[in-house]
């Protein structure tokens, strides 16, 4: 009982940040992302005994989170296609140049086809290898590598097409 608790708390402390960021990227909403992470960890707690390899913990949690997210859509019957992701504005006050830039780049990632952006986010945010991503998304590794290549390629092109200075300039 106690060891399970300790394991769980260690898992939460080490991985809740990455999971939240991934959830935020999936949902684009702080509150929804938070709920999703809570559901994920609650499920993880119930199934904690099935986690044998601690190194696999992160991909295990991400898999649970993806499943929970899919379930959320089953419940709500709310397709991603129903709204333009790019038009969703970040409610955080966009103040600094850096944040403006981040926001812009996030939009660009969101505009990528989901089959490209998903492996990219898993790779960059989750730090997963091509094999890990392939097993999580149920694809073969070559497909994953091709999608990663296309994702970065398109992002790079988008960045190059954009003028160096962005934002609203008055006067």
């Amino acid at each position: 009982m106690m060891t399970k608790q300790v394991r769980y708390e260690a898992l939460v402390k080490a991985l809740h940040g990455d999971l939240y960021r991934y959830a935020y990227w999936l949902t684009h909403e702080k509150q929804v992302a938070e709920d999703l992470v809570q559901e994920t960890f609650l499920r993880a707690w119930r199934a904690l005994d099935s986690l044998k390899d601690e190194k696999a913990a992160k991909s295990w949690l991400i898999t649970i989170l993806r499943r929970e997210n899919a379930r959320r859509f089953e419940r709500k019957r709310l397709g991603m296609s129903e709204y333009e992701e790019a038009t969703i504005t970040d409610t955080r006050s966009v103040t600094t140049e850096q944040e403006l830039e981040n926001h812009w780049l996030r939009e660009k990632i969101s505009q990528l086809p989901p089959e490209y952006s998903e492996p990219l986010v898993l790779q960059v945010l989750g730090g997963f290898s091509g094999e890990d991503i392939a097993s999580m998304l149920d694809l073969n590794k070559n497909t994953v590598m091709t999608r990663l290549f296309r994702a970065r390629n398109q992002l790079k092109e988008a960045l190059e097409a954009e003028p160096v200075k962005r934002g609203i300039y008055n006067g």
Binding site: R21, Y24, E34, W45, V124
Partner: protein, 237 residues
């Protein structure tokens, strides 16, 4: 490694450290520059995705789990308690059953067992005698009384043999004592008019609320005893 292949590899995984990828960068400065550009892009992507995590999320997660498992725990304790109570109840019932249920299936077996149990405690020539009055006082518990004495009453007392309260009378017989039991009617024991074993034989008379059983050795005339009893016993209800 040709340029296209190199670009594909770096695009797919900027952190690729394969020997030929590293070698290609060392040979060709433009490749090295490309790899650095993509690494920079990756860093920007990472920053963009690195949204601030709510400070209290970690604590919330632990709290929620603690509450959830506490409820499960509570539910479990309740189940355990219910289980323990059931076991205790079954145990109690079993004990009750074993203690108060008869091991004999009929009146005859019961009476014989009782006689053997107390055999020797009263001898046929004992000097003690119980008066009719004191016998009738004891009979009051069974709502009955004897109008006359049946013979020399050596012993009369209640005894609880095998969980059944009965009045145990021992009369002087020809060779050995004659035992008369007055027992309340019992659902568990089937009535048997006559019964015997090697040494004793017995007969029962059935009344409304009680049975009277006579057990004696084979020299006694049980019919006579039975007749005497039925002529002298009176039931108040």
């Amino acid at each position: 490694m040709d340029d296209l292949n190199f670009r594909r590899t770096i695009y797919a995984d900027p952190t690729n450290q394969d020997a030929d990828t590293v070698a290609a960068q060392q040979v060709d400065p433009s490749k090295k520059q490309f790899a650095q550009e993509i690494s920079k892009l990756d860093e920007r992507i990472r920053q963009a995705l690195n949204v601030p995590v709510p400070d209290d999320l970690c604590n919330k997660l632990i709290l929620r789990q603690t509450l959830a498992s506490h409820q499960v725990h509570k539910r479990k304790t309740r189940v355990h308690l219910a289980l323990a109570a059931s076991v205790a109840m079954v145990g109690g019932l079993m004990l009750n059953f074993l203690q108060f249920s008869s091991v004999y299936s009929n009146l005859g077996d019961y009476a014989l067992a009782h006689v053997y149990h107390e055999q020797g405690s009263v001898t046929n020539n004992a000097s003690s005698q119980v008066t009719l009055t004191s016998l009738n006082k004891k009979m009051a518990a069974f709502d009955g009384n004897f109008s006359e004495s049946l013979g020399k009453l050596l012993f009369a007392d209640y005894c609880r043999f095998d969980g059944m309260k009965s009045l145990h009378l021992v009369y002087q017989g020809k060779n050995s004592p004659v035992t008369v039991f007055i027992v309340p009617k019992n659902q568990q024991l089937s009535f048997s008019h006559t019964f015997n074993d090697k040494q004793y034989f017995g007969r029962s008379i059935e009344y409304n609320h009680s049975n009277i059983i006579v057990v004696a050795d084979k020299n006694e005339s049980l019919g006579q005893w039975q007749q005497n009893i039925s002529e002298t016993v009176f039931w108040s209800i």
